[in-house]
């Protein structure tokens, strides 16, 4: 078994995560991601019979809050942190191919 992922494997994982990597990073992650994934693989050897899962450690029943209008944020405040805007619109590149 190789102690490195292939370049293609790293780029696949980076694509899943929507992260662009430099060539140097790809090289580094070929080793580091392999180390991490090998470590995580230890879980395959753990024996467990009970198939009940714990997603969150809260015992209380989740209740929804009442459907009432509460404190609101102002649109102009929300827009303050938007990188590219046009009035009260958030600008993004074209998403649908023409």
């Amino acid at each position: 078994m190789s102690d490195m992922l292939t370049e293609k494997e790293v780029l696949h994982v980076a694509r899943l995560a929507r992260i662009n990597l430099t060539d140097e990073e790809v090289m580094k992650y070929r080793i580091q991601l392999k180390q991490l994934l090998d470590d995580v693989d230890k879980i395959k050897d753990v024996k467990i019979d009970d198939d009940e899962q714990l997603i969150t450690p809260i015992d209380e029943k989740a209740v929804l809050r009442s459907d009432e209008a509460g404190e609101m944020l102002e649109p102009e405040d929300i827009m303050k942190n938007v990188p590219v805007s046009n009035g009260n619109f958030v600008e993004v590149p074209v998403m649908i191919n023409e």
Binding site: E25, L36, D50, Q53, L54, T56, P93
Partner: protein, 483 residues
């Protein structure tokens, strides 16, 4: 220079009530201390102007609670309205929140004064705070050593006596481990005890905000303020508020305390084990009953953490896309490039590593092989802890396997950061409260901390034991005297 910040919070409160000092005296002293200790790099953003303004405004107000006018530092992953909140990341280095986290509202209601935002690992991912975009904070006991992480800046500024109070957050030990390395008291409350609204999410089923302080009593005072149901966090508990100081000073004889065998195994260094054994002897002598137990699957907790925390992180950090806030790459060719370049340039190495592994572990069939199985084992760990608490009041062990190590060590080893947290992660898996109280020093006079784990919502009992140990050991925990 005045030395009011060396007094206990009770003493400061008396002086404020008698009008012998004003809140501004405390704020000015805090900033003098911070400036003198700039090399610690404990803060990312300071808020001197607003802090002085708030202190002035408080001069005409009645001193109506014990934390009134006390300077407090906030970990930089907790959002503060109009005060930059970076998560120690390039991707948020210009982010000015437009609302306060629930804990910040509570702190402001009690008229504590926010001094600034503390340094940390980027997105709280790390065990040394060295993944910070702003450089690592240093350990006040030896500035060549790490402060621990991820709440390293909060631990460093409390240890160095820059401010008396700080907030940290703990996903896999990030309050307890730096508290251990820096010789302070840190509490990770029961999951659900403190609202997470406004805590920038890392691992949502693990994260908790908690207090970091110089001593046990003041820690309990701060937790008193932070708790309570919050309509904005549906995982917050409906439990009534309580006074966490109420059991401090009570006799500990007859307390039943469990020590997991894993916590004294050979993963723990000799000096840490020796300190723990000394505490065990002390407790026995004072009438506590100590027994050794096994917690099922505790040795697998790091693997579970890798899967669950990285999985949750990959999902939580999907929101950083360069669209609504934060860093955004200029002139992208299409939306795919906007996301990928923004995230590639905005996130640091550790964060990218974790998001990629998390995305992979949750993709396709892997979700079943890894994530679903991790949740099964997580259930078994929690059940085993809860069963232990049917027989015992508390569980103890160390928080860290060693004392603080050198800055720069282990940076290229993607596994080290997880192994540093091998003793603290099980608590997050089970959603239980865990804390650090200093129990001694190693050979280089670096602090060693005791971990106390309680049953769910049993924080008051933990403070009782911690206060007893603190009083009995009476350690000199002021690093200014050794530097």
């Amino acid at each position: 220079m005045s030395k009011y910040l060396d007094l206990s919070i009770r003493e400061i409160n008396d002086l404020l009530k008698k009008k012998e000092i004003k809140p501004i005296d405390l704020v000015e002293e805090a900033f003098e201390r911070i400036e003198e200790n700039a090399e610690l790099n404990a803060f990312i953003t300071l808020d001197k102007e607003q802090a002085l303004k708030t202190a002035k405004e408080l001069e005409d107000r009645e001193v109506d609670n014990v934390l009134f006018g006390i300077p407090i530092a906030i970990k930089d992953n907790i959002v503060t309205k109009d005060l930059r909140t970076t998560c120690a990341s390039h991707i948020l280095d210009n982010f000015i929140p437009i609302y306060d986290a629930t804990v910040i509202k509570k702190i402001k209601e009690k008229n504590m004064i926010i001094i600034g935002k503390t340094n940390m690992d980027e997105f709280a991912m790390g065990s040394t705070s060295q993944t910070s975009y702003f450089g690592a904070p240093h350990n006040p006991w030896d500035t060549k050593k790490v402060a621990g992480g991820s709440s390293g800046g909060s631990a460093s500024c409390i240890s160095a006596r820059l401010v008396p109070l700080a907030l940290g957050s703990d996903t896999g030990g990030s309050i307890r481990q730096p508290a251990s390395y820096c010789g302070i008291v840190g509490m990770k409350p029961t999951y659900g005890r403190v609202s997470r609204y406004g805590l920038i999410a890392f691992g949502s089923s693990l994260d908790q905000i908690g207090p970091m302080t110089r001593n046990v009593y003041e820690n309990a005072l701060l937790l008193n303020v932070l708790c309570g149901r919050d309509e904005n966090d549906l995982t917050s508990s409906h439990r009534e508020s309580e006074d966490f100081t109420r059991m401090i000073g009570e006799d500990i004889s007859g307390m039943k305390i469990a020590v997991p065998n894993f916590f004294i195994s050979d993963i723990v260094s000799d000096e840490v084990r020796a300190n723990l054994e000394a505490v065990i002897e002390l407790l026995k002598k004072r009438g506590a009953i100590i027994e050794y137990v096994d917690i099922d699957y505790i040795e697998n907790a790091v693997t579970l953490y890798q899967i669950i925390a990285m999985g949750e992180a990959s999902s939580n950090l999907a929101r950083f896309d360069g669209v609504r806030y934060g860093y955004s790459v200029a002139d992208p060719k299409g939306v795919d490039e906007l996301y990928a370049l923004t995230r590639g340039e905005g996130f640091g190495e550790e964060v990218k590593r974790r998001i990629m592994v998390g995305s992979y572990l949750l993709s396709g069939e892997n979700a079943k092989t890894y994530y679903a199985k991790a949740l099964q084992i997580r259930k078994a760990i929690r059940d085993s802890f809860l069963k232990t608490f049917e027989k015992y009041d508390l569980i103890i062990g160390p928080n860290a396997t060693t004392t603080a190590y050198n800055l720069g060590e282990g940076l290229d080893d993607p596994l080290k950061t997880f192994l540093d947290d091998v003793l603290v992660i099980p608590v997050n898996m089970a959603g239980l409260p865990g804390m650090n109280v200093p129990m001694g020093f190693g050979k280089n006079h670096l602090p060693i901390g005791l971990q106390i784990i309680g049953n769910k919502f049993d924080e008051a009992k933990m403070y009782k034991l911690a206060a007893f140990i603190e009083k009995e050991l009476n350690l000199d925990l002021d690093p200014r005297e050794v530097r």
